[in-house]
């Protein structure tokens, strides 16, 4: 056994990898990567002594794995698989990444009108917009995984809309991880830049087909100018060998509308940080999510809404279903700053525990420094309603089936809230198949 720590493993790997990372001709990026590596060195991996990692102790699992930087050969089908899972990809701009690298063959990028860009990030690193935003929204300081991502990212999704542009067909980015006998990792960086009054739907879809443990470390930066609208949806469908660490960080200007919906079903360990800054007046965000965990899964969701300006609204609804010995964490922080008068902030977190061993840590946190605000939050954790279960059984429905009906009655609301006809069938299947094998 080597006595190398996980941190040292990354630090020593960097010098060998550096020359192979994309953006060799962009000096700004090279120095950004070096700076991030230094920040990672300073911060080290988070321990459960940190409030934000209190219920997710990485030293028990993730930090024991020394994921290699090998890129295994892979063959995978994506579009056909997605279709089978209920997503009619003919109707989307499909952007596929396999083990952290863009796959042109598996993607289908439709022609776009002028003023709209949907590309893989590695191919546009000389773009001024990229330079202007990367690392400016998701800061690496004291954030080990963001710092690692900045230092090591290989590719990701880039979407840019110029003023007034509306992209009707959804952008469906799929990130496949697939390995063999070696552990693997990928660091993906997405950047979404929306100019004034532009509008787009973006789907980040993570999935794995792996033999060995793997890490997906993703950072998505979102810049939303005045009056822009982003409907963002993230599907976490990593396989049971997967560790998924994801950050989705948005900056919102006046009157912008950001909807973020998370559907997390996979992964041995999943951590999602979703943050937005309502930076100018009348900005609005809707953060919703459904996390389903069973067996030994651990799913940790952390949200942070920074009400910086007056007259902004935020609505947050997260639901979790925890089965077997799985553990769920929900940490929802809302900060209403002094200047943010007439804030309307609502948060709700509801959890359903299917066994006595299943655990949930739900932690709503409101910090309110303005006086003229409307804030409400509710957190509730319950079990399957035995009365309802018996009622269904007494009509001939088996106990197992009745349980599924009741779980869907609870969780299905999050699927029903999604208006997109492109997404609904697939999300319903996602939840159904989770229940099927549980």
């Amino acid at each position: 056994m080597s006595t190398l720590t996980a941190q040292e493993h990354y630090l020593s790997s960097f010098s060998q990898l550096e020359a192979k990372l994309p953006g060799q001709d962009a000096a700004w990026l090279k120095s950004l990567r070096l700076q991030a590596l230094e920040q990672f060195k300073q911060a080290g991996f988070p321990t459960d002594k940190l409030e934000s990692w209190k219920y997710t102790n990485l030293s028990l699992n993730l930090l024991k794995e020394f994921f290699t930087f090998e890129v295994p050969a892979s063959t995978t089908v994506v579009a056909a698989q997605l279709k089978k899972n209920g997503f009619d990809t003919d109707k989307a701009h499909l952007v596929v990444f396999v083990n952290g690298k863009f796959s042109k063959e598996l993607s289908s990028l439709k022609p776009l009108e002028k003023g709209m860009t949907v590309q893989n990030l590695a191919s546009v690193l000389s773009n001024e917009t990229v330079k202007a935003f990367i690392g400016k929204i998701a800061l690496s300081q004291n954030k080990a995984f963001t710092a690692l991502n900045t230092a090591f990212f290989t590719d990701g999704l880039f979407v840019q809309l110029e003023a007034g542009k509306v992209l009707d067909a959804p952008v469906h980015a799929v990130y496949v991880s697939t390995n063999g006998s070696q552990t693997t990792q990928s660091h993906l960086r997405n950047l979404l830049v929306l100019a004034n009054d532009s509008k787009v739907n973006v789907i980040e879809h993570y999935w794995g087909e792996n033999v060995s443990a793997y890490l997906t470390n993703v950072v998505t930066e979102v810049a939303m100018a005045t009056g822009s609208t982003l409907d963002h949806l993230k599907i976490g469908q990593e396989d049971i060998k997967g560790y998924h660490i994801g950050s989705l960080i948005a900056q919102q200007e006046e009157g912008s509308y950001f909807a973020s919906r998370l559907f997390s079903v996979g992964g041995a360990l999943t951590r999602n940080d979703i943050e937005t800054t309502l930076g100018k007046k009348k900005a609005e965000c809707v953060l919703e999510g459904l996390y389903l965990a069973k067996e030994g899964q651990h799913v940790d969701t952390r949200t942070f809404i920074d009400h910086l300006s007056p007259n902004c609204n935020s609505t947050e609804v997260f639901k979790g279903v925890i089965d077997d010995q799985a553990v769920g964490v929900f940490d929802g922080r809302i900060l209403v700053r002094e200047n943010a008068q007439k804030t309307d902030a609502r948060q709700s977190n509801k959890n359903l525990l299917l066994t006595k061993e299943a655990k949930i840590y739900s932690k709503p946190q409101f910090q309110i420094y303005a006086d003229d605000v409307k804030c409400s939050h509710g957190s509730a954790t319950g079990q399957i309603d035995e009365e309802a279960l018996f009622y269904l059984q007494s009509r001939g429905i088996s106990r197992d089936e009745a349980k599924k009906v009741l779980v869907y009655a609870f969780a299905g609301e999050m699927v029903e809230k999604v208006e997109s006809g492109y997404l609904k069938p697939g999300l319903k299947k996602l939840v159904d198949s989770w229940m099927e094998v549980s």
Partner: protein, 251 residues
């Protein structure tokens, strides 16, 4: 059809049923009356397999099949239907979906073909009409926000769709006004037939004017203390239960 012999049951440490003997032949309607707390609902629950009761003695068979060893769903599939005294609200579960799932589960267990959405809707609409129920109720969540009367009608609708061998009605009349009571009673009467039996639990004689029983049993202290014809119900209405139990209990 239904044979109950020496049935004893308790909840936690409380003995509630103290040896019930009752035989219901095919096509018969039996009424169970008795003061509050005498064990009527307990009997209905024990027959339908509700968890939380410990059977401490006796046996129950339906067409020769041992009921007590079956799960609630298997009892339903064997033909037992309980119309709940307090129907359960299930938010998030659509009434049509629920009814269709129930019917198809029962059909499947009998080796019959499952009904598709169109055939099912046709069937359920036909059953709604005589109950004077609004079709919109099918689109709502099971019993959620239903009035007391709507809930009871929904129970009868389910019974009409599932066509059980044995219908157990637990105080289906409580909380109904006279018009709703008639509708519900008509719904039950329409289901009467030579191969279907009913156990009608009620606190008041009124329901039995509309659903005329073949036999009336008085349950008190977890035992059947008197059995008679339909006229027994009238006698109870007049005199209360006190003359039977030796206590001053009014109907």
């Amino acid at each position: 059809m239904l044979i109950i012999k020496g049935l004893k049951a308790r909840v936690e440490d409380k003995q509630i049923l103290n040896g019930i003997d009752l035989t219901i032949n095919p096509g018969e309607v039996h009424a169970i009356m008795g003061p509050n707390g005498s064990g009527k609902s307990t009997l209905a629950h024990v027959l339908s397999g509700r968890p939380g009761y410990e059977i401490t003695g006796g046996e129950v068979t339906l067409d020769g099949k041992d009921l007590l060893s079956l799960s609630p769903e298997d009892r339903a599939r064997a033909g037992v239907f309980l119309a709940f005294q307090y129907p359960v609200e299930i938010p998030g579960v659509n009434n049509t979906y629920f009814l269709k799932a129930a019917l198809n589960a029962i059909r499947k267990s009998k080796g019959e073909e499952e009904l598709d959405a169109i055939d099912f809707l046709e069937l359920v609409k036909a059953k709604l009409k005589p109950l004077k129920m609004d079709e919109l109720m099918l689109q709502r969540a099971v019993n959620e926000g239903f009035s007391g009367g709507e809930k009871k009608k929904n129970e009868i609708l389910q019974m009409a769709v599932l066509e059980p061998k044995l219908g157990i009605l637990d105080e289906t009349d409580s909380g109904l006004d006279i018009d709703a009571l008639k509708v519900v009673a008509d719904g039950v009467n329409a289901l009467r037939g030579k191969n279907r039996s009913f156990l009608v639990v009620t606190h008041y004689q009124r329901l039995l004017d509309y659903i005329v029983p073949d036999q009336v049993h008085v349950l008190a202290g977890g035992k059947i203390i008197k059995t008679g014809g339909k006229e027994l119900a009238l006698e109870l209405e007049e005199k209360g239960y006190g003359w039977l139990t030796g206590e001053k209990v009014k109907a």
